[in-house]
């Protein structure tokens, strides 16, 4: 009987594939570890973006935080505004220059410098040289007249352009149609986002952003846990002699990698008892669930000082 070679090949191949599958995809038992309690910290969106160095409008796939300037890393508070250098802040009490010349020429067109001189003799050179403003100017006032300020020059010679509606001298009237002029016309500004290397595209954030430092709340939580477990003898004498430093190494599972080491020294039996009490507290405290994965590098090794002297100040 003639046997189809392709059939044999097909059967052999199927057996091979199924056999391999049986071995490779053997059922694995389902592991159900007991759920651990988890500390929940409520943080604001700003805190989150600081932790992750991310920006809401960023791209998900971008792994690097936005950096516009090479400097020490500092995340953005708000990535919307335009970047400026920080300006010196000038208070409103600074010398008040040009607005008046604008008014005066309206009444006395032929001689603009004079009314200015009447008002403020200091301003005399202004009609001649308009551009060099006094170095320190109220930015808002400056913005207010930023457009008009250019006009006085033509006005001075040609008297052609009619000035903006005249205002009675020294009296402030509220003109609803000019509210826009009171608005701050500067663009919103902010400081540049700094980092170690320039990166022009924003990101949603990374797990290891700039704020991956042990937060105070983590340390506080750990301190509180140890303080509650650290049993101190009532009425102990000379507590200043019982300062114990314990060095620990933690695994990423927040448990001790080895027995705690007492690295401070003392030979008295009282010191030994105090050191053992400190070690007991550290042993009982694990797992230190308040510590975050991101900060592992910082809590991998810790020195914990147990200092009883403040408790027994007499």
């Amino acid at each position: 009987m003639k046997v189809d070679k392709t059939l044999i090949a097909s059967v052999a191949l199927h057996v091979l594939v199924i056999g391999w599958g049986l071995v490779s995809f053997s059922a694995r038992s389902l592991e159900a570890p007991p759920p651990e309690s988890m500390p929940v910290d409520i943080i604001s969106a700003e805190q989150l973006s600081k932790i992750t160095a991310g920006i809401k409008t960023g791209q998900k796939e971008n792994p690097k935080p936005l950096v516009e300037k090479v400097a020490d890393a500092r995340p953005a508070e708000d990535a919307v505004g335009k970047i400026t250098e920080k300006k010196e802040i000038v208070t409103a009490s600074a010398p008040e220059p040009p607005p008046k010349p604008v008014e005066k020429p309206v009444e006395k067109k032929p001689e603009p410098p004079k009314p200015v001189a009447e008002n403020k003799p200091k301003d005399e050179p202004k009609p001649i040289e308009k551009k060099p403003d006094p170095p320190k100017v109220d930015p808002i006032a400056e913005a207010l007249k930023s457009e008009e300020a250019k006009k006085p020059v033509p006005k001075h010679e040609a008297k052609a352009t009619p000035p903006p509606p005249p205002k009675p001298k020294q009296e402030r009237t509220f003109d609803q149609s000019k509210i826009a002029a009171l608005l701050d016309k500067r663009d919103p500004t902010r400081q540049a986002i700094t980092g170690a290397a320039l990166n022009s595209s924003a990101s949603l954030g990374t797990t290891r952003g700039t704020a991956a430092t042990l937060s105070q709340s983590e340390l506080d939580a750990m301190r509180a846990r140890l303080a509650s477990l650290w049993n101190v003898q009532p009425g102990v004498e000379h507590p200043e002699e019982l300062y114990v430093t314990v060095r620990i190494r933690l695994n990423p599972d927040r448990r001790l990698a080895g027995p705690p080491q007492v690295i401070s020294t003392g030979s008295s039996p009282r010191y030994q008892a105090a050191a053992e009490a400190a070690v007991r507290a550290v042993l009982q405290g694990q797992p230190y669930t308040m510590l975050r994965d991101e900060t592992y590098e910082q809590w991998k090794y810790m020195d914990i000082d147990f200092d009883p002297k403040q408790m027994f100040r007499s």
Partner: protein
């Protein structure tokens, strides 16, 4: 009596524990080299609380030993609780029942009830009639044995065994010497206020085993232990003037100390037990004298037209504190043990009329305890030997006569509420937190604590 002791070998740990231990050693060697950048955390505050300790009933080695096992456990529990430094956990909370002390306990079940230390033990009557006591002290968090010890003694001394074990636990966990294996001599008072009978009595520090040393026909006051704990010196009103006596506890013999004209009172042994220091009356005044018990030679230490009394040696025997009214009111002075100029150390800050009396130097040397009188109150307090750091531990209508426990951490004194009632004994630790009444059969006053018996 004799108590012989041997230490118990630590239990062999399981293979797993040894492996962990080995890994830990490796990690320990590695740690210092990697140090440098780690986070430092300062814990400035802890839980100032008595240490939770679990003391399950000692196992009986034979079925008939169960009772003594329970008794020993109760004595230890009571001792540790009264010290104020331990909080024995109620046995009802225990999860694991200890049946064999030669197997490591299940530490997890003791952690669950928040025990930091665990005591397991066994009492066994031996073939020769002696009692064998074994105990182990465990650190629950670390899963380690801290002490393992066994003792042999006659069965009637089971309470003493319990006190010795208590001292071991106390010393290992606090770092201070214990004080439980000690006695207190005191004046037992019975009868109505008008016809009060005062007898010299002695008991264990926890109030058990009361023995009466005198019959009560004569009035006795201020008993004091010798450092050997075999002798007591006290003052007794006999037929004539009050006299200082020596009393041998073992033989019951007593003898007069010296033969002086007038009263002799306020005796106390020197730390070496070779001398007795006391006050001798001379007219309206009294001065301090010291008498060598072997040569019977007497040396005068003070010579003032004032009442110098209540002398007490520093533990090294080089100095003496005493009470004197040479400045007008009774105050505490310190001088060299050989006499010479004395320096006043007691100065009442809150009450210009305050006076101080009955000074007694701590066996540790760090404090002098006293009775302070002022503002209608009698207080018990301590101060450093230079007079600084005064701390009042208890106040009330009438508190008097402090005496230090052998470890210098606890004081006993007597308190008289007044009226038709009588005095009773109290203990307070030197922080003043833990004040407790000491059970006595009747009224009791003038306690004096012995040194440790062992």
């Amino acid at each position: 009596m004799s108590v012989t002791s041997f230490s118990l070998a630590p239990l062999p740990l399981s293979r797993r524990d040894i492996l962990i231990g080995g890994a830990a050693c490796g990690a320990g060697l590695l740690l210092p080299s990697l140090a440098g950048a780690q986070t430092k955390l300062i814990i400035p505050e802890g839980n100032v609380a008595p240490l939770p300790i679990a003391i399950p009933d000692f196992v009986g080695g034979t079925p008939s030993d169960g009772e003594v096992g329970v008794g020993v456990t109760q004595v230890i529990t009571n001792n540790l609780r009264r010290s104020g430094l331990f909080a024995p956990i109620d046995q009802a909370a225990f999860i694991e029942k200890i049946v064999n002390i030669d197997a490591a306990p299940q530490f997890q079940s003791w952690k669950t009830i928040n025990a930091q230390a665990l005591v397991t033990g066994r009492m066994t009557r031996q073939g020769d009639g002696r009692l064998k006591a074994e105990f182990r002290l465990w650190d629950v968090a670390a899963g380690q044995q801290l002490i393992g010890q066994q003792y042999f003694t006659s069965p009637e001394y089971w309470r003493r065994i319990a006190h010795i074990i208590s001292d071991q636990i106390y010393e290992r966990l606090t770092g201070d010497k214990g004080y439980f294996d000690s006695r207190v001599v005191f004046v037992d008072e019975t009868g109505s206020k008008e016809r009060r009978v005062k007898r010299l009595a002695m008991m264990d520090q926890d109030g058990a085993n009361v023995r009466y040393l005198t019959r009560g026909s004569d009035l006795v006051l201020t008993p004091r232990f010798s450092p050997s704990t075999q002798e007591i010196t006290y003052m007794e009103f006999g037929q004539g003037d009050p006299r200082v006596y020596l009393f041998n506890i073992e033989t019951g013999q007593r003898e007069i100390v010296g033969n002086f004209p007038g009263m002799s009172f306020a005796p106390r042994f020197s730390p070496d037990g070779q001398r007795v220091i006391m006050s001798l009356q001379q007219g309206g005044n009294s001065n301090l004298f010291v008498m060598d018990l072997r040569s019977k030679s007497t040396t005068r230490l003070t010579d003032t037209p004032a009442i110098d009394t209540s002398p007490s040696y520093s533990p090294d025997g080089t100095r003496i504190c005493f009470e004197s009214d040479r400045g007008g009111k009774p105050q505490i002075y310190v001088m060299a043990a050989t006499g010479g100029p004395a320096q006043r150390i007691s100065f009442s800050k809150d009450d210009a009329n305050g006076s101080y009396s009955t000074p007694v130097w701590s066996p540790r040397g760090d404090y002098i305890a006293f009775t302070k009188q002022g503002g209608g109150q009698f207080s018990i307090g301590i101060m450093k030997p230079d007079g600084s750091g005064e701390r009042i531990l208890t106040s009330g209508f009438h508190n008097e006569g402090p005496t230090f426990a052998p470890n210098g951490r606890v004081l006993m004194f007597f308190r008289d509420p007044g009226g038709n009632s009588g005095p009773s004994l109290f203990t307070v630790d030197i922080s003043g937190r833990n004040e407790l009444r000491v059970p006595t059969p009747g009224f009791a006053s003038d306690p004096a604590w012995s040194p440790l018996l062992s």
